[in-house]
């Protein structure tokens, strides 16, 4: 059984291990103890503050394996990116060049540097320990954030986006970076990736190409990976598309990984989530009545006390029947307000 809750300082060593495991490509989660500590502190501050409009808050959650008590995964939310320095992406736009005289009608894709996602909420890449990359844990960790957003919608913008890790070749090189970024940054991908995680992003504006990049002028290897998800992130990607996230032609400026976005109200978990009272039963009663084996994501509590777990349960008119172990895990009693969605 797993539980998702906001991160706290005691999670620092576990988070550091996760960051090391994740390696490069996770810009927002560098294996740097100070930065991780800052992230926890920032999340705690956000949870303790009375927020009326989304600002520079960040929220960090951990996935706990209840069997051992270990932190085995993490995921995050940013209330609004691009406040300190613009949030850059490439927008793939087609430039149409047509000559009726020659009967040519060319559509040339070009990459336009933009910061269209500045001012938007973001789900940060999720990391899960290899042994726990099962559908339940992944779905729980990913979607727990959506229940948090549903509960605290004033803290987020209407639109939400996620950046997916881009493809790299068998040596771990990003062909997109090799063909484009390295000419402008004069450093290797790893360093640029690290810097954009730890430093102000100002250097990006300083060094990025100012003019649109015509895709056909890139190497064919680079062209091939534009908007392609790294195989390690394929599962995450599937989960997100399932939720209702869509690719709208934006890619990462370093590795060309796709960005997917959605209006919060259109996301499956948020649209379908219900809220109501907790009705406590015993495990055997639930098992007996739950003939269709329905499992639910169940969340309870506000802000710092926010908890999400998954369990078999029975949806009733007045609320949701859950077993006593689940209620204990969520630290709630009968009659407490909870939210739930089908797992």
């Amino acid at each position: 059984m797993y539980l998702v809750r906001p991160a706290d300082f005691q999670d620092l060593p576990a988070l550091e291990r996760l960051a090391q495991q994740a390696g490069i490509g996770f810009t927002n989660f560098p294996a740097n103890r100070d930065r991780l500590n800052d992230k926890i502190a920032s999340s705690k501050r956000a949870l303790q503050t009375d927020v009326v409009n989304p600002g520079d808050e960040t929220y960090l959650f951990v996935l706990v394996d209840e069997a051992t008590g270990d932190v085995v995964g993490t995921s995050g939310l940013e209330a609004m990116v691009g406040l300190e320095s613009p949030f850059y992406s490439y927008r793939i736009d087609e430039v149409v060049h047509a000559s009726p005289q020659l009967q040519i009608h060319n559509r040339i894709p070009a990459l336009f540097l933009c910061h269209d996602y500045s001012g938007t909420s973001r789900m940060m890449a999720m990391i899960i320990n290899n042994q726990h990359q099962n559908p339940t844990a992944m779905s729980l960790l990913s979607r727990a954030r959506l229940l948090f957003i549903a509960k605290h919608s004033d803290r987020f913008t209407q639109k939400l986006f996620v950046e997916l890790r881009g493809d790299s070749d068998k040596h771990g090189y990003s062909p997109f970076w090799e063909s484009l970024g390295k000419h402008f940054f004069s450093m290797d991908f790893k360093k640029a990736d690290y810097l954009s995680g730890v430093s102000s992003k100002h250097f990006i504006a300083d060094l990025m190409p100012r003019y649109p990049i015509y895709v056909p002028t890139l190497s064919s290897e680079a062209q091939d990976v534009i908007g392609v998800v790294h195989e390690d992130s394929a599962k995450t990607s599937d989960l997100l598309l399932d939720e209702g996230f869509e690719f709208r032609g934006y890619v990462d400026i370093f590795d060309a990984g796709p960005t997917v976005e959605a209006r919060i109200q259109d996301l499956r978990t948020i649209r379908e989530q219900k809220s109501g009272k907790t009705l406590i039963s015993t495990k055997s009663e639930i098992e007996a009545k739950n003939t269709d084996s329905a499992s639910y994501l169940i969340s309870a509590g506000h802000l710092e006390d926010f908890r999400v777990t998954s369990a078999r349960a029975i949806s009733q008119v007045a609320g949701l029947s859950i077993d006593d172990q689940t209620s204990e895990r969520l630290s709630i009693g009968s009659g407490s307000q909870i939210q739930w969605a089908t797992l």
Binding site: A110, L180, R210
Partner: protein, 347 residues
């Protein structure tokens, strides 16, 4: 004797014969009677214009005639102002720098910037000389006679003048720049694009070319290498113009990356150093030895230019032989323009 003169209406057959010899890639001279006829007429019309407010669409075409055989064996031209009716495109190799003080990085990126900067500027056009006449300084006469015309009629041209030089092709006749840039936007073959341009259909360039600067570093090395480089066959022509003061100012052809070189007319060596003197007809001393000089008359429609040789530098008067005077169409006390064919070695 080899004489430069304006093209005439009855040179049509000769011009066609020359055009047939040029071969692929020589787009300014195509064996097509209609086009050539139009060229000749435009030239006649240009030489006949007496009053000019400013240089416009005049197109001056000259031929090199071997007076012994009466054959026309070469041709060259001058355009008073390009791009006034159809856009004239080039790439300017510009510089864009990006620096991050935070990271101590300072990058200098060359970029190709599409422009029409030569709009309204005069052009020294391509030159063709028959294979069998490529000796005895005929090439230099053909090329530099244009400067004598510029020196005599500067009001018919703009302050600056430029020349386009053929770019580099690989051993398969492909242009590396075109292969890695142009063809993505044109979806036609290089030759066809080149041909359309020559025919004056430049509209399609505006329609198809990328309007944003292209980062040179993103192009493959083969393409980067040919920017501003001339085809090996054009190297002597480039050298000749550079000796006269033409300079590469970072403009290149949008298709093959060949350089455009330019000069202010008053800075061209043959223009600057040429001077007028008065002719007399007689028996020149030490003719056919010593220094070669270009000599032209001061006439417009009857413009003539020849090459003479003198052991002693002529002063304020120039003694011409009967034959020289006849071919220059000058008489006693007519003004003639003279200049050393080649520049002195620089200090």
């Amino acid at each position: 004797m080899m004489v430069i003169r304006p093209i005439q209406i009855d040179d049509m057959t000769s011009l066609y014969r020359l055009a047939e010899q040029t071969g692929v890639g020589f787009t300014s001279l195509i064996p097509d009677e209609v086009i050539l006829q139009r060229k000749i007429e435009a030239s006649l019309h240009s030489f006949a214009k007496m009053e000019l407010n400013q240089p416009a669409n005049e197109d001056y075409l000259f031929v090199l005639e071997d007076t012994e055989t009466g054959d026309v064996v070469g041709t060259t031209g001058l355009l008073a102002a390009v791009g006034l009716e159809e856009p004239f495109y080039s790439y300017h190799i510009g510089t864009t720098t990006h620096s991050s003080r935070e990271l101590g990085v300072h990058n200098i990126h060359p970029t190709l910037v599409l422009n029409n900067d030569y709009t309204g500027i005069s052009e020294v056009c391509t030159l063709f000389l028959e294979e069998s006449y490529r000796h005895s300084k005929n090439g230099q006469l053909l090329s530099k006679s244009r400067f004598m015309f510029l020196a005599q009629f500067p009001e018919r041209f703009t302050e600056k003048i430029f020349a386009e030089m053929r770019g580099v092709c690989d051993k398969n006749g492909l242009s590396p720049l075109w292969e890695s840039l142009g063809k993505h936007f044109f979806s036609i073959e290089f030759e066809r694009a080149d041909e359309l341009t020559a025919l004056g259909s430049k509209q399609f360039i505006a329609e198809l070319m990328p309007h944003n600067p292209v980062y040179v570093n993103l192009l493959p090395e083969s393409a980067r290498e040919v920017l501003g480089k001339v085809h090996e066959k054009t190297a002597p022509a480039r050298h000749l113009l550079e000796q006269e003061g033409f300079r590469f100012e970072n403009y290149v052809d949008i298709f093959d990356g060949g350089p455009t070189i330019e000069a202010r007319i008053s800075d061209i060596r043959a223009v600057r150093e040429s001077r007028l003197c008065l002719s007399s007809v007689g028996t020149p001393k030490d003719a056919n030895e010593g220094t070669h000089y270009l000599v032209s008359n001061a006439k417009l429609e009857d413009f003539r230019c020849i090459l003479i040789q003198r052991a002693t530098p002529p002063g304020s008067g120039l003694v011409l032989s009967d034959e020289e005077a006849k071919h220059l169409k000058v008489d006693y006390k007519d003004p003639v323009r003279i200049v050393e064919l080649s520049p002195h070695a620089r200090r």
